[in-house]
Symmetry: C2
Subunit: 205 residues, 2 copies
């Protein structure tokens, strides 16, 4: 183990850069397909030097996943804490999810696709964040039911998973097409989830 000053501003900014470099490489080649040499090269240093910032390749993956997930979950907490009407909160949730694909697509993609390759003990913190996210969403749905904005016959676990699924599906559009209008997509997505695709319901549009 090397001596390192984890508080120095230089260390912090390089570590941040290292995480982003790892995110980019993992997202392109996958965890096992990427080598530490790939990550170091993108960062502009040599392979061995990378171990100044990560104790192991697995730690790098964990850091990338946490980085990708953190802001995303924080935003959810903020949304769940407001007393906006259900529809507005749903729009905010969808917007947050889709927005993450644009701003930090790589780290979040790595979390989605590669986190399973982490050993169980490295996944605890991620799991906590993930279940927290879903719980907040399910609570929101319960509120929606109580407020009469959501049918009582829909169970919240099913619905939460559906919402997450649609967002991930649309995330592919966002990643594929850098021109895609994220806000417009979020609006259409929320509308679909609320009112379905069938025409002629009272809400005129």
């Amino acid at each position: 183990m090397k001596p390192r000053n984890t508080d120095s501003p230089r260390y912090q900014s390089q570590k941040q850069a290292a995480i982003r470099a790892a995110a980019a490489v993992f997202s392109e080649k996958g965890f096992h397909g990427a080598s530490t040499a790939d990550i170091a090269e993108r960062l502009g240093i040599k392979q061995g030097s990378l171990y100044y910032y990560f104790d192991s390749k697995e730690e790098a993956l964990e850091d990338v996943c946490l980085y990708g997930l953190r802001q995303y979950v924080d935003n959810m907490d903020a949304i769940a804490g407001t007393d906006e009407p259900f529809e507005a909160r749903l729009l905010a949730v969808v917007g947050n999810h889709l927005g993450s694909y644009r701003s930090k697509s790589e780290a979040l993609k790595v979390h989605n696709d590669e986190r399973l390759y982490l050993p169980a003990e490295r996944r605890v913190r991620l799991k906590k964040l993930g279940t927290h996210y879903r719980e907040q969403l399910e609570l929101m749905i319960h509120d929606g039911v109580a407020a009469g904005a959501v049918r009582e016959t829909i169970d919240s676990h099913f619905l939460a998973q559906s919402i997450i699924g649609v967002c991930n599906g649309l995330g592919e559009i966002i990643v594929r097409d850098p021109e895609a209008d994220v806000f417009e997509l979020a609006r259409k997505c929320t509308d679909l989830l609320l009112h379905g695709m069938v025409p002629g319901h009272y809400k005129g549009e």
Copy 2:
């Protein structure tokens, strides 16, 4: 290159078994994380012997992906070819998608998560099948609009991607919980897509 009789019934059944073994291992460890030794072990033969059935590890991945995708796409063709009303066809599509997670979850999961690690020239056949699938779905949506079953304001690319997304999201429930009732999930999913989560629309339920 070894001499092999690809027509003998024994070869065919062992090759099938090899593809399934590869699917299981790739799905658990990922393409790069899995070794040819892992696949051979699951099949009950030695590492070197595997090359009697695959020219390379990449070919194994391609075969697994094709295996996972084929039946899934064939079913879509059958569904698109009927003249059932739109709602019934949507239910069939969703049921097919969710059902695939139950029956061949491993190969389809491999296709979803690992196909990107194939070199471009090995991906052509997969791409063809995939875009064919989405085109059929978009055509179905156009029919639905023409028949008045779908709002005109929804664009079919967006909707197709949303449908695929919800199904993948619910696929996680199916994979996680072997007791989950796939047909019931498909019904609820179709209902959500058609009518949304908001209560009080004319269709009483």
